[in-house]
Amino acid sequence: MSAVVVSEWVKLRSLRSTWWALGALAAVTIGVAAQVSSSVSFYGVPGVVSQDAMQDLGVYVVTVSTDFGALVVAVLGVLMIAGEYGTGTIRNSLTAVPTRLPVLGAKALVLACATFAVATAAFAVAVPVSTGLLAGNDVDVHLDDPHYWFAVLGGVTYLVLVALIAFGIGALVRSTTGGIAISLGLLLAAPVALSLLLGVDPPAWAENLAVLLPTVAGKLLFTYPAAQRWVDLSAPSVDGAWVGEPWHGALVLVGWVAALLAVAGLLLRRRDA
């Protein structure tokens, strides 16, 4: 297994597209955090601004980039497996490892590690940049707050899990264009379509359904717990909602990954390559 992991790492690092995607992830994470941090403040908000509100804003500005980052890692995830089908390289991979499943597992592991490493490094830059710029706008974010760091870690986790979801989709459809189209549809179009369908005051069952979407569930991972509920669908506002805590969101995403990879693994064993 470890030999197959090394092989997949060699494959990933030897393509320039990998470095473009990972570079774009870092640039988006740092750039969006810097831009948004420099342009928000509580000026004009009446009354005393609570520390919770400042912490919440601090989390928001540093994690809002994940909307874009998710698209980048989704493309990387699809390319990693579907690109092999497009070029025929998969036949080399499967003749070298005829039991096949280790190839899928090693690719997923390498993808997850690469995404984790780059996302972590990018947040390590984005956090000080963001808090510094916010301080200039009189928003004083306390970094000794564990909830702040849980939310940042949640952003990293979200990116890793989205990459794996897209990877699973790529492994199922075995086509770069198809895989990217479905992944972006799931991440971008599905939540918009659902919110349009449900309207402004959706019933609890509809919220429970909506939170099964990766983007919606993902938001829970990096929402500050005392959020002012100013954001969106993901705010656990309705009584009777099943999903509200960050770990619920993580569980939903892990469920997607597990289901997609299980089916992908089954089909990889069965289908002719």
Binding site: S7, T87, T89, T95
Partner: protein, 311 residues
């Protein structure tokens, strides 16, 4: 040693490989021939476990490919030279394949040198010609120093030097006691390289014989005789029991009589012979004869096509 038993592959209603049995033995180069769509490539893919048989089985050294453990040390396959990521260098491609079997960079550089790609190994594969890709594919097949090599059309796109080099390499590998299975459409090339031939037609084995048997069926041999005294020589050859076909003005095609006997007969009668050439049946002739009924895509006569052309 590769053994196929009742090996079958169906795609929906089409049967690509229809219960074939054959054995590919070590120590010789075995040629795998057949028209397009005869099932050669499908059979090769089943040998290395890429396609699952619909029926029957195929083993390498007694085991299905997937159970070989470290398969690259047992079997090297070149199935599709273009199946490499175009934006990756040849060396990185080989390093990735080698890593699955903990084969180091030194062996990678060794096979790169063997196939003569040293100068370009760090360049992206999208700049490679088909011939260079074939060399890269062969390098990949040889990485694990396997005892069995399976090569689908490896001389396609090679330049004449490359063809000669590939022929020598494959013959050397077989001489070392390895099993070499090679498919090709180039009959003359195959005739020079292979010792044994398996011919597929419409998914079935239509011939499985040593090359010498195929090209030299004794009754198919003829001798070409050129003489100014055609009219004198012909009856003498008839008297010896030969079949003689005359091509004016001075050429005879003699079947059923060896060249030495023809020379004796002519000398005994004082007949001048300008040329005496034994003609063996070529592999191409044998192949065309055997697969006549099995060609899937046959070209129609040019005259008919011309008539159907819109004016």
């Amino acid at each position: 040693m590769i053994v196929a038993q009742s090996l079958t592959k169906r795609y929906g209603a089409t049967t690509a490989v229809d219960g074939v049995d054959f054995t590919v033995r070590p120590g010789v180069v075995t040629g795998f021939l057949g028209p397009n769509g005869a099932g050669k490539s499908t059979t090769m893919r089943m040998i290395v476990g890429l396609d699952h048989p619909s029926g029957g089985r195929v083993t390498v050294d007694g085991k299905p490919y997937a159970r070989l453990g470290a398969p690259l040390h047992r079997v090297g396959a070149l199935l599709d030279a273009s199946a490499v990521h175009p934006r990756r260098s040849a060396r990185n491609h080989l390093l990735a394949v080698a890593a699955t079997h903990r084969i180091g960079a030194r062996r990678v550089d060794e096979v790169i040198a063997t196939v003569g790609l040293d100068a370009v190994a760090r360049r992206h594969v999208d700049g490679y010609s088909l011939g260079m890709r074939q060399r890269l594919g062969l390098a990949g097949a040889m990485l694990g120093d396997p005892d069995t090599l399976i090569l689908d059309e490896p001389v396609n796109g090679l330049d004449p030097d490359g063809v000669v080099w590939m022929r020598g390499l494959l013959r050397d590998l077989a001489a070392q006691g390895r099993t070499v299975l090679l498919s090709s459409h180039l009959m003359t090339e195959m005739a020079l390289t292979a010792d044994h031939v398996i011919i597929l037609g419409r998914g079935r084995v239509v011939a499985d014989a040593p090359m010498s048997d195929l090209v030299a069926g004794a009754d198919a041999d003829t001798v070409q005789v050129r003489t100014p005294q055609v009219a004198t020589l012909t009856p003498l050859l008839w008297a010896e029991g030969a079949t003689v076909t005359r091509t004016p003005p001075d050429l005879l095609s003699v079947a059923g009589l060896g060249a030495p006997r023809i020379a004796q007969v002519a000398a005994g009668a004082g007949i001048v012979v300008n040329e005496l050439t034994p003609v063996t049946r070529s592999l191409e002739d044998a192949y065309l004869e055997l697969t006549r009924d099995d060609v899937e895509y046959r070209s129609t006569g040019t005259r008919r096509i011309a008539r159907e052309m819109p004016r």
